[in-house]
């Protein structure tokens, strides 16, 4: 699995619950199906299968227009309660797999969760990219385009 995903985004959330409880909610099928990959609150997942070990796979399915759509992936790191890394994709729509890293740091009685979602085509196609950080430009496009003077290298 390549580390060179071009696009990276990060989301942080502070929980009152302990790091262990937050971590476990990712891997407990009964809990995970209530919130993870749920597209609409009134539409719970129809299936949630989790094999929570490195190399283990998961499959969540939700219903879209009466058809079950699977979200599948593989756990790459399972380090309770600090870190969870997994790939995920929706084969119905794209052959690409994104990568999600969940870092949990205890804070007081609660914890802070930082989620990093890396996506986009991976591998060979990106070899000519010399700056990894360019993806951030996508978020601040205007600044990037109109600010820096054009350099020709």
């Amino acid at each position: 699995m390549s580390d060179d995903r071009p696009v990276k985004l990060t989301v942080t959330h502070r929980f009152k619950a302990s790091a262990e409880r937050v971590f476990d909610a990712w891997l407990n099928p009964v809990k995970a199906r209530c919130w993870l990959f749920v597209t609409a609150p009134e539409k719970p997942l129809v299936r949630a299968e989790i094999n929570a070990r490195p190399g283990g796979r998961f499959c969540f399915a939700d219903l879209r227009d009466g058809e079950a759509v699977e979200h599948v992936g593989e756990y790459l790191e399972v380090d309770r309660p600090r870190r969870l890394v997994f790939t995920f994709g929706v084969p119905k729509y794209s052959p690409d797999y994104d990568r999600v890293t969940v870092d949990i740091v205890p804070e007081g009685e609660g914890c802070v969760l930082t989620l990093t979602h890396e996506m986009g085509p991976e591998g060979e196609k990106w070899k000519d990219s010399t700056e990894k950080g360019w993806s951030k430009m996508l978020v601040g496009l205007d600044t990037w385009l109109y600010e820096a003077p054009a350099t020709a290298q």
């Binding site: 985004l9 929706v90 430009m137 385009l145």
Partner: protein
């Protein structure tokens, strides 16, 4: 969350932006329309090599070409980048709402535990 609308053209946009020369081309075009020769001039590469980069940008619809007599004029079209940025924002928003749903779920568990064990709820919960 991937949707049927996400895949291909986003890849095209990212692929086009993944090269420093192509980004420099876009930055120059962002300042205004240019002839191909004007655009190629500051780059330390052949016109042919620059043209290849331009074609990648055209394929991604980031650059539009129009002809005026014998001149080819290039301009920047921001729509694909706006779409890519919007798509990323949508991804971020969906993670934010999932994490909020997780938070709600855990707090509901706390409330249920507090309700079923009223005598000593403190210390054990939260």
């Amino acid at each position: 969350m991937r949707t049927p609308a996400t895949p291909n053209h986003l890849d095209q946009t990212l692929l086009a932006l993944a090269d420093p020369t192509r980004r420099a081309i876009l930055q120059r075009l962002a300042a205004g329309e240019l002839r191909v020769t004007e655009l190629a001039q500051p780059f330390a590469m052949s016109l042919n090599a620059v043209s290849k980069h331009i074609r990648v940008l055209e394929r991604a619809k980031l650059v539009r070409r129009r002809r005026e007599g014998r001149e080819h004029l290039l301009s920047f079209t921001p729509k694909p980048m706006d779409e890519a940025a919007r798509w990323m924002e949508a991804q971020r928003a969906s993670w934010t709402s999932r994490l909020q749903a997780l938070d709600d779920l855990l707090q509901a568990e706390d409330r249920a535990a507090a309700a079923s064990a009223p005598p000593h709820p403190k210390g054990r919960l939260r």
